[in-house]
Amino acid sequence: MSRNLELLDTFSKILRDNAAVFANKAAIREKEYGIWQTLSWNDFYNNAQILAYGFKKNGVKRGDKVAIVGDNRPKLYLTIAASQLLGAIPVPCYQDSAADEILYILDHAEIKIVVVENQEQVDKVLEVIDRLPKLNLIMYDDSRGLENYDNKSILPLSNILDSKDEVSSSWVDEEINKTSKNDIAIMLYTSGTTGRPKGVLLSYNNLISVAGKACEIEKFSVDDEVVAYLPMAWVGDNIFCVAQSYIAGFCVNCPESRDTLAIDLREIGPTYYFAPPMVWEAMLTQLMVRMQDAARVKLWFFNYFMKVAKNWGNAILDKKKVPIWGRLLYGLGYIFVYGPLKNNLGLTRVRIAYTAGEAMGPDTFLFYRSLGINLKSLYGQTEASVFVTLQNDGDVDPETVGPAFPGVDIKISDGEVLYKSSGVFKGYYKNDKATKDTVDSKGWVSTGDAGVIDSKGHLKIIDRAKDVGKLTSGKIFSPKYIENKLKFHGIIKEAVAFGNNKDFVTCFINIDLQAVGSWAERNNVAYSGYIDLAGQDEVYDLVEKAIYEVNRDLSKDGALSASQIKRFLILHKELDADDGELTRTNKVRRGTISERYGELVDAMYNKSKTCHITTEVVFEDGKKGDISADINIRDLEVHFSKEKAA
């Protein structure tokens, strides 16, 4: 359905229209007490009005900021809608953030009201409330455990939603009409690979123009279904589950809890699905591990038909010419393997699937496509309201992130990717300097990513521009490129490569506990936990084999052949966002890691064979502890590059 987005230029206006146009169609669902509870567009709009009125009575004014902390819950989405109706600016925060991280955002954004999901988040805010003089109200959705909190500034959202206040429609219309397309719709804090998070201001026009175009391209309609499970603080959720849902009218489904996601996915059967590469890879690893335990006949069927899918699946999905027997075999495979498999993963109805954020292994990528799942890569940024590039149906190259998204101009300057579009943000909150550093006078935004554009006009991202360095030999060193190649192996979960201004390349490895654990079980390697498994010689052998293959690939890669990994070690703990080693979106924080594990990095370059290290870790409840281990360092044979051989 195409809508006049010139007139409907803010979310509140679209919502008002949705209540009239879609009326009783489902807007949002939540599984509660085992049953999916649906809120229609009409209900959603009504509740948003009541909530907005309640916020106003509690002192929220136009331009104020309302923080939101919690998992994807209908009432938190309502909070976004209600704030926007009032002309206030919602500021969602990552729900896993520690109290300190929340403190920074609540303080920086000068938050007066924070709306949270449950007791856990209330406690987090209470922990730092003394340092937040401006904060005067905490509201919560789930009251469990909060009954006995005797604090007048903590109130349940139901106080407002269940109130019998009559909200006059003229007041609502007046409020809605006061907002226009260039006002700020939402403020999202970047996850911050380096330094403090920055508040990205996005206008209604940014979000609606981009989301509208994506709806047009992918032909989203009111009949689509999406499962909202990625953090509300992430820009993608605000495009996929808010903006696009408003514009196309499709239903957003909130899972019961994080543990039930797989079950809920299967029950809902989304038609539109987004997952970062990590999720896709974990799904594949789990699948392969489980297949290893299957009966022989089943395993044979699986292996045979996966070969068939590899041969013909992608061509069929891309609507290319495929011989009739290829189609027949694929059809049989669909009955025996692909169909049940997709059903098991909850992906049967998926019409459009996206991945972004990191590079994804071509094998993994093509695996899903060969099953008939239209998985596409996109390249995006918070500052661009997500879309910078998007792969087109039928023209998908796993090595690239596709051509520029309609309405986006891309250019490469000094190796760095720059873009310009209607989605470009309004600036960083209270940080003009950073805004000026990122957006030039002509509106080009620097991404900080190094990339190239290939002959078909598709963008290929190589690395973070500032991370690309040189070995002492002068040869180029791109850590991300190497790490991605490593991570394409199922047994390697995370990798961190070093080599800038060094003689050769070394790397830290995090093994995938599930994949390696299952391997250990089948090979009679006994282990007690991650630390133990990571230190075993057999596991080192296994990882060495994987790195050997990566080195062989690198040796064929001209300029990068010098980047072959000469030494590696397996870290004694998994890199964790709670320890500051990863961002909340699971990106590696290089600086922090080389600081924390400085001894290990030194040991890599001073010919030591082992190194003892003690690391402080933060547990989920904020308590701290130490873990220590003797870590082995292993040397590797490198492949001769073609250059040298010649």
Partner: protein
Amino acid sequence: MIKSQAMEKINQKKHQVMRIQNVSLSFGGLKALIDVSLEIYQKEILAIIGPNGAGKSCMLNIISGIYTPEEGTVIWKGKKREKVAPHNIAKMGIARTFQNIALFTGMTVLDNILTGRNLLMKRGLFYEAMFLGWARDQEIQHRKKVEEIIDFLEIQAVRKVPVSRLPYGIQKRVELGRALAAEPELLLLDEPMAGMNVEEKEDMCRFVLDVNEQFGTTIILIEHDMGVVMDISDRVAVLDYGRKIADGLPKDVRTDQKVIDAYLGVG
């Protein structure tokens, strides 16, 4: 015997739900309980501790009515209690969990918890079998209550999984769920944390505290983990060789010489 003044004050304010007076019980020549008296107050968490063979489980069985004392009386809500049939115990508002898990292993979590509602189901066999009118409404009501418990215990992800496939810690949680399903006034937990790892113990402690706080259930638990006992109970009773040697606030019991002797042995 310790009984600080502060304790007395607390107890006076509280309503007594059960009073056990001078109870003795023996199995042949073995004297399991000797002249034990114990009061149980509404909404408290009472821990019964003691070395192996001290008579803790016996005490629990007396409270629940499985054993009838040879001497002494049990007064439940102001009335003397005579010998009772097991289904009447449940009707009185007493539910328990067992030291060894006693669930229906082939049934799902949901069905297991639903069995806890058995006594509250009022419709006849015919209606139940035909799933007609009232039976249907009743089923919906009970299912709702069970779902609330599932939500409370955070076991939504395993709602439809047969119990035999679940790890031990979760099975224990399901057992607690089944006991809660009967909406008991008095909940007896026989070693709820036994065999659990630290994380599972922490979870279980939180659930026990939440049950007490949210539903106002009186809880009596037998537990060997002293850390747990001292952290979560309002009052601790100590048994040794069938006799009660201490009864009071956790901090008082901890420093009581008789208790220390019982646990460490007298030199």
